[in-house]
Symmetry: C2
Subunit: 318 residues, 2 copies
């Protein structure tokens, strides 16, 4: 039996079906060689249900449009995690996940917070991802964006090394830079469109760049795996983006600490497609209490956001 | 003596001067707490000479406008590195650096290629950075871009954890997202302006977004530590960017495998400021030969690029 192996360096997983049946060769079996970040990391090569279907199922199951951002700052951790090595960050994340997993429809770890902690931080990320239940999708908030062969490497890192279900990307360099991520048909990419920060006025708003991005991505979404990032502080403009890209799901940050209106965001963003609205909250859940009751407080905050968001779903559409 | 310590998790380095002389307290000494990615990594907290001065010195010393991109793909490594664990990538990079360090003015490792190799890849990156001589600046090609508190984490990762001298950033989310990087006054940020890939036509060119970016960054450069990324394939437009941002140094990829003209790029981009032009070549140097002579071939290729680029420096200005 011949095998086709990409010269890599990690675990080997057989494909479910032979990729060639050449009788001369007796059949050619594809072997996928996966890059594994560290011993014991779970295999991430199995094809999954399409991301937005998984998201919609998780939203239905937990009756929740809420995504919790896992952006741990070691300086802000509550009382039980004030001291000790950097792996206390992983224990904090594990406690947050345990306290909220039945109230959210996704988690969104922001890569920056882990990278800032060095290699140990990447082990924190690994432990964090392992703590997320299989039925709750993970969005890698990494905002990558680079030309073709480099984008392929980033896609491999996010989807194969880390096994994330979706990723955030920057559109600046163009559609060809998104393609290596979109080629993973079972995963998804949320592309930056109109963000919640003041700097949105510098390059996103002038010339209606954000609508150009929305429209181009709506047309480019042949595999049904593109979403947009639209900030909750951009009231009035969220509905413009919805008109420019009627079918794309939105990931909406900016609620909570950043002050965006959850009601307007959900109502302006609502669309027909499953998973059309996902609202991210980070600090207001993670740091709901700085005391020993941090997990109960995080759970209560998440449940309040969950109920509030459910209440804003348009009746005739929900 | 009181010390002010950010609750972090790594080495401690005393500041050179006290930051307060309150006689009641007997003096307050600032202590910087650095995040160190792994045992033995060099300290990166010392303030450096401003980046573009360091770059100009390296360009003068080696008579070179050439930056070599350290973007190692394990599948493409030459004969001596075809087999073995992933650390063979570090050995390859070390050999390339050894063969070219007196011919270049900077190295530009692209983070994607290391991230794609998992945690082991970050150790490869660590060994690669350690192999670069102190007088040759390192540009972290990471193309990051995120809102304030997240950008702070990315800046800490790139400049403190990894100790890079400069970084590439995406402008999409606005000037406030660049600020946490620019606050490191001794480092620099090359911001994406007009890139060498076909997708530049999607969002960079329409509405002359690239000139808006160039102009805004030219005005924003109060610390003298902003540069622009301008692709060598964009002939005719490089001089437009130069007019829009007369004082910003350019990092120019797209020469070599991507087919951009080095002559036109250097001549259109040339400016008065030290380090105004830096031309990056990756694959044409790294993979100049797939045989055992890879290092000699890389050296010869780098020297050819170096000489060629020197020949294009405008006489009256150079």
């Amino acid at each position: 039996m011949l095998v086709r192996v990409r010269p890599s360096h990690a675990l080997i997983e057989p494909a479910k079906e032979p990729i060639s049946q050449d009788p001369q060769r007796g059949g050619l079996l594809e072997i996928r060689v996966l890059t594994i970040p560290a011993k014991g990391h779970k295999l991430n090569g199995m094809k999954r249900e399409p991301f937005f279907q998984r998201l919609a199922k998780a939203q239905e199951r937990n009756q929740s449009l809420l995504c919790v951002g896992l952006d741990p700052d070691p300086d802000k951790l509550p009382a039980p995690f004030k001291r000790g090595g950097i792996q206390r960050v992983a224990r904090f994340n594990q406690a947050i996940i345990k306290a909220t997993a039945d109230l959210v429809s996704a988690y969104k770890p922001n890569w920056a917070f882990y990278e800032a902690l060095g290699l140990e931080g990447m082990r924190v990320l690994e432990k964090t991802l392992e703590a997320v239940p299989r039925h709750v999708p993970v969005i890698a908030d990494a905002k990558r964006g680079d030309i073709g062969n480099t984008a392929e490497s980033y896609a491999r890192a996010i989807f194969e090394v880390w096994g994330a279900d979706a990723v955030t990307l920057s559109p600046y360099m163009g559609l060809d830079t998104l393609e290596p991520f979109l080629a993973y048909e079972d995963r998804a990419a949320y592309v930056l469109c109109l963000t919640s920060n003041p700097g949105a006025e510098d390059f996103e708003l002038p010339g209606l760049m954000y609508l150009r991005v929305a429209s181009a991505l709506g047309q480019h979404d042949t595999r049904g795996n593109i979403g947009l990032v639209v900030g909750a502080t951009q009231l009035g403009r969220i509905q413009e983006v919805r008109k420019a890209a009627p079918n794309l799901p939105f990931l909406i940050p900016g609620v909570g600490t950043q002050g965006g209106s959850a009601r307007a965001a959900v109502q302006e963003a609502w669309g027909d497609r499953p998973g059309s609205v996902l609202v991210n909250v980070s600090r207001s859940v993670l740091y709901a209490s700085s005391g020993n009751d941090f997990a109960e407080a995080a759970r209560a905050a998440a449940d309040n956001f969950r109920k509030e968001l459910q209440g804003y779903i348009p009746r005739e559409k929900g």
